[in-house]
């Protein structure tokens, strides 16, 4: 099928923290099973605002009911994301996707470290399901400035308990889990001799830059899921570029959002 534009209905909302929530969209028609890291562009059907669709990484996917369902996680950052929080259950939504590149699920081996910061959890939460299906062991490093800002810690703890995973929480102020920025906590674990065969990460750009540096120092292959403002999500508006290693740039929506950390020129970011 590839990428499709389908109609959907808002099936429900769960508030996660003071400013984050998850939405479940029940699709009227089927779409391809997203690869973890891929995203969808959504907008309320029929409305003229917001002007652009918004890009959200897939946090969960299932095939039951009509066209199946998608879970998304959203942080309220302005009027657009606030409107998604206020949208009533049953409202019609347009969904375009799945879009962009995903994490290399086919190539995983050994023990994988997943590193999430801020609202970076959704693609990694979705990845956990795929890893469990393939019997791959995982460690999830979940970071936030302080305990109240941790997104999805309880869900992740349950997933870890039920499967082959382990949850390591890092807060900058030490109010929950280990004290320190999540990438520093990760590096301490690697230096302590823990096995990490690959790193998959999503979070704010400075965190991803720090992660790329950790990956280089520890000689571990890293993939990052990037976020940028986009108008189309389809590769034609050229509004979401990031500098590429060796010159030129990459479109976050097409060559990304998931790229090897080594493909980015972090110094020009």
């Amino acid at each position: 099928m590839g990428r499709r534009n389908v109609s959907a209905r808002l099936a429900g909302r769960i508030d996660l923290t003071a400013d984050t929530f998850s939405l479940r969209l029940q699709l009227d028609e089927p779409v391809d099973r997203p690869v973890p890291g891929q995203f969808v562009m959504i907008r309320p059907a029929g409305g003229s605002q917001p002007f652009w669709r918004r890009a959200f990484s897939v946090a969960g996917f299932g095939t039951d009911g009509d066209g199946g369902w998608l879970d998304l996680m959203i942080k309220i950052a302005g009027p657009g994301t606030r409107a998604w929080h206020e949208l009533p259950t049953g409202a019609a939504v347009e969904v375009l996707g799945p879009l962009g590149s995903g994490f290399p699920v086919e190539a995983v081996h050994g023990r994988l470290a997943l590193v999430a910061g801020g609202i970076g959890l959704p693609p990694l939460l979705y990845a956990i399901g795929e890893l469990e299906r393939r019997g791959v062991a995982w460690d999830l490093y979940l970071g936030a400035p302080a305990a109240p800002a941790l997104v999805g810690a309880d869900i992740c703890a349950e997933r870890a308990k039920a499967g082959r995973g382990r949850l390591i929480i890092a807060t900058d102020d030490g109010s929950r889990g280990e004290r320190g920025v999540v990438t520093e906590v990760l590096e301490r674990h690697i230096e302590a001799g823990e096995r990490v065969d690959a790193l998959w990460s999503c979070g704010p750009m400075p965190m991803l830059a720090a992660l790329a540096a950790v990956a280089e120092r520890t000689n571990v292959e890293a993939y990052v899921a990037l976020e940028e403002r986009m108008a189309c999500g389809l590769g034609v508006c050229l509004g979401c570029i990031v500098p590429a290693a060796g010159g030129g740039h990459l479109r976050v929506c097409r060559e990304g959002p998931v790229v090897p950390a080594s493909r980015i020129d972090w110094s020009r970011m």
Binding site: N5, P50, F51, R53, A231, C232, L234, V236, C237, I241
Partner: protein, 307 residues
Amino acid sequence: MTTPDLTVTVGGLTLANPVLAASGTFGYGLDLDDLCPPERLGGIVTKGLSPEPRAGAPMPRIAETACGMLNAIGLENIGVEAFCREKLPVLRERGVTVIVNVFGASSGQYRDVIERCEAAGGIAGYELNVSCPNVSSGGMEFGHDPALLEELTRLCRDATVKPLWVKLSPNAPDLIATAQAAAAGGADALSLINTLRGMAIDPYRRRPELARTFGGLSGPAVMPVALRMVYEVHRALPGVPLVGLGGIETGLDAVRFMLAGASAVQVGTATFRRPDAMLRIIEELEAYCRETKTSRVASLTGALEEI
């Protein structure tokens, strides 16, 4: 009623329907193939091509505004050589009507792009981009100076016998004078309008939202301005075919531009919001013709009743 005839003729070029993809919103014609097959359109206008590849503007390049958006992409493109080698053969095979949008930093560069395309063959026509607000040299300076524009158009006219369109700037001090200059230089048709120069400001960071400070405004916000300009140029130069664009999102929007004087229309920003927007516009245009018993869509051009 029989099926309405959607074919239109724009300055000697016949199109299967009046809806074309606007430059810079549809890549090189095949980027959205799966969601909007280019052969179903009246034609596609390529991303602006320069003799050499261009990296474009720094980030941030786009900003969302009320009923529209700003862009300052800076004419990023793969260059005419890569286009002719990698994209054109596929477009030709697919039977797509291809209008090449031409950009140069000097008049010689405009001519270079056309000559390279003429050597490749398979192109339906050219659209000169003399109205991009986002580049430091070339582009808008030609579009703002009638004498320069006439000279540039004539130079390009001499390089091809194919249809030659000039895309006019809404930012020019004298719209009619630039339209007359392009026509005098030998343009077969005029496309209008390109984006309106604007800016957006982030109140918390107290900075412009775009790295280049200014960008081009597009989307429904500009449609009233675009309609007025198409109307004015049509009235002033009734013999010059026009291609209307600026915020078209529906079939009725396309009808509005044709009534104002356009022979065909281009759709740009709507594709970002809905990748199959142009297919819907074509369907809606056909439905309008049935509803109003219009047997030929071409008869709408300039058919506005005066008050």
